[in-house]
Amino acid sequence: MSVDFIYPEFEVVRNDSRCIACRVCERQCANEVHSFDPKQGSILSDERKCVNCQRCVSLCPTRALKIVKSNCTLRENANWKDDTIKEVYKQAASGGVLLSSMGNPKEFPVYWDKILINASQVTNPSIDPLREPMETRVFLGKKPDRITRDQNGNIRCKLPPQLELSMPVMFSAMSYGSISYNAHASLARAATELGICYNTGEGGLHEDFYAYGPNTIVQVASGRFGVHKDYLDAGAAIEIKMGQGAKPGIGGHLPGAKIIGDVSRTRMVPEGSDAISPAPHHDIYSIEDLRQLVYSLKEATQYQKPIIVKVAAVHNIAAIASGVARSGADIIAIDGFRGGTGAAPTRIRDNVGIPIELALAAVDQRLRDEGIRNNVSLVAGGSIRCASDVVKAIALGADACYIATAALLALGCHLCRTCQSGKCNWGIATQRPELVKRLNPDMGAQRLVNLLTAWKHEIKELLGGMGINSIEALKGNRLMLRGIGLNEKELEILGISHAGE
């Protein structure tokens, strides 16, 4: 119906004087935007299908292509924005829930960008990381309350299980199924080379990747896909996924079309059937139930592995985290509302949850107020974009950060936010073999190693500037932060002073 017509969001601009009709764009576009017209000997575009993933632009040998935002817009309206109106058209036509991918793109405050970092001047020296040792190693896990000694007076050095990381960054959960085999291979190899961890997500662990177990966090989510004894034993830590920042309060749905071959075997779900993760864990309706799952997993793995409980940042996150800290969990991972996803209902992604900066600050302070901060380590995610975000998160009180979108960008993702289509031209969020093979795991792993090596250098530079030579002296060191353009309440929650104070 003509009322449903929505002018394409993007225009494919082809410079005909440069185009040599080599048809690379046609072969590269899984969305079938480009086609060859034999009569004219030229390439045609169907921009209705374009998602602006930039694959054709990147591969065009003559730089003949660019994708631009369409300027055919509806009449401007500050209340009824273009997107809002078009979403109404789509829903009026389909009667369905709108789906989106990756993190919340709306204009909410990004507090990382309103926080500034300190540096030493005069009264104490900055430290040059190229000349002096600069330490970034962290241990995640519960720390004992009391020192005990044996009969000879020696300290008993038995620690609860710890996760040792060479730097306070890990790759957060992305399931095999939501991303490709080659993406997982890249993450696993990079984590191993970097001395950090990656996370299986709720898709189980492919048999090829058990070798990377010491650098793997295995996830137990509400669907329990791929969970069995060997899987639990394989990882360095076990993560119970209670929630996800991109879609707090709801579960997941991997369509049957993606449950094929290895994905089906790894998830332990029959081929072609939908893998539906329920919104809650149906054995966890309250905090005391969580405790039972935590201890079931500890029993199953002889108390050898730290248990992470991952929760979405929601309004009363401080109280929730306090409860989790008393549930036997060793690590709490908090996922902010800008965290990414392979698919989520648009309304949920864009409107539910709170920013990680505020959640992290509130949780760290609450756990300290209750004197239980050392019972757990805190991991902050959703969304950590760069080394300075990591430094700010640690100074607010995190022990480490989770990154995922940044890792995917390193693998080639161009953030077109259409993962849910399964037609990722960069070979990441897809199971189509011809697309998956576009991501070379050797190069992918190297790019991830490069990214985090660069971040590590930057973290060291920032630490050295503050006169700090070990990351643990930054943890919770909020005096190193100042707010800019924040109101009193925001500063109070973040526990920092305003710039100039």
């Binding site: 030493s120 009264t123 104490n124 020296p125 430290i127 002096e132 040792p133 330490e135 190693r137 962290v138 241990f139 720390k143 004992p144 009391r146 020192i147 000694r149 020696n154 300290i155 050095c157 620690l159 710890q162 300290r368 004197g371 901060r373 050392n374 009180g397 503050m466 006169g467 700090i468 030579n469 070990s470 643990e472 002296a473 930054l474 943890k475 919770g476 060191n477 909020r478 005096l479 190193m480």
Partner: protein, 364 residues
């Protein structure tokens, strides 16, 4: 302008200390004189001393040295003290009027013992009770401030140059086996006496030169255990850290030093297995108590001193000896003032604790 405690004020400093391993007692005049050649390391905005063994006649009582902003505050606070302690002696702190030291608060000294009935009611041991009560006074009684609370030891501090502070407090009239001294160079001018150093709690005292970059990480960690950092100074938080590690966790001085000035991971990895395991353990358990940034501290305790530099040795500190005496100072000149023929002068490495105790069998 905000007072110290409402705002964090970085400062540079001079420190000095002397101890007799034989437990021989000396007047405080020597240590006050030792600060003179380091005059330029202070700016007249704070000086102080701690002496150990100075109150032998009251050695079983906690000596509370207190500042009050006025007489009324003192009267009110004394009511509180009497509810918690038996006061065996209370007196005005003896001082000399000198032009270099002005605007002094009301300075008072009490020798007290905790009331047994209150101790039992609160189910606390004596030291924990005294520590908590001191912190209660310092946070809940505006205008009253306990700046010394140990047994047979005392802290003396003021706004002024340290050598003048020594004269003001008549240190030549006290005799102790161990002394520490501090001259302060704050980068702001709050002019509050409580902000001067040493900082002390129970028998612990700290003089410190430096500005630690880990301050807020340390503060927020230690405040989980009932300590309240009301001054926002490095010295205060280091004292609480040492109290926590030594008294509450039962660590040895060496172990505590390996927490606050932890060896680098690469150094730990090269140690023999047993030592490696202990160092790994302590660093993993107390990451929030690692102190970074420049510092040289002399930590005073009953029967000894510990000198410690940050692990990069970003502040000067030298140690020298003569007979049974050991001297520590920011500069060798200070040691030469105390002992012109001092021997074995050396600069301890970063993170290497120098612990001096009076000899076994000497009662202090």
């Amino acid at each position: 302008m905000k007072l110290e405690g409402q705002v964090r004020i970085p400062s540079g400093c001079a420190i000095a200390a002397a101890i007799s391993r034989d437990g021989k007692r000396m007047t405080g005049e020597m240590i006050a004189n030792a600060m003179k050649p380091m005059h330029d390391r202070s700016n007249g905005l704070g000086g102080g001393f701690a002496g150990y063994g100075i109150y032998p006649e009251y050695k079983d009582f906690y000596a509370l040295h207190m500042f009050f902003d006025c007489r009324t505050t003192r009267k009110d606070c004394e009511v509180f003290l009497k509810e918690h302690f038996e006061i065996v002696k209370s007196e005005i702190m003896p001082t000399r009027k000198i032009p270099a030291i002005t605007d002094e608060p009301v300075i008072w000294r009490y020798f007290v013992a905790p009331l047994q009935s209150v101790l039992h009611a609160q189910q606390l041991d004596e030291e924990e009770f005294v520590a908590r009560t001191v912190m209660k006074i310092n946070t809940e009684h505006p205008g009253a401030y306990v700046f010394s609370s140990g047994k047979n030891m005392g802290t003396f501090k003021a706004v002024g140059f340290p050598e003048d502070v020594g004269v003001f407090y008549r240190l030549d009239e006290y005799e102790g086996y161990s002394w520490t001294a501090h001259g302060r160079y704050p980068t702001n001018t709050p002019g509050w006496w409580g902000g001067a150093h040493p900082f002390s709690l129970l028998d612990w005292s700290i003089v410190h030169n430096g500005e630690i970059s880990s301050y807020d990480a340390n503060r927020r960690f230690i405040e989980m255990f009932g300590y309240q950092c009301t001054l926002q100074t490095d010295t205060e938080v280091i004292t609480y850290i040492m109290d926590y590690l030594l008294r509450r966790q039962g660590l040895t001085l060496e172990e505590a030093a390996s927490v606050v000035a932890a060896p680098f991971w690469s150094t730990i990895e090269d140690k023999p297995p047993a030592e490696r395991e202990t160092l790994m353990y302590l660093r993993t358990v107390f990451p929030g108590l690692l102190i970074t940034g420049p510092f040289s501290v002399v930590f005073g305790f009953r029967g000894g001193l510990m000198a410690l530099n940050d692990r990069l040795k970003l502040r000067s500190m030298v140690v020298g000896e003569k007979d049974d005496m050991v001297y520590i100072a920011s500069e060798e000149a200070a040691i030469r003032t105390m002992a012109p023929d001092a021997e074995n002068i050396w600069a301890p490495a970063g993170g290497e604790p120098v612990i001096i105790r009076v000899k076994d069998g000497v009662v202090v």
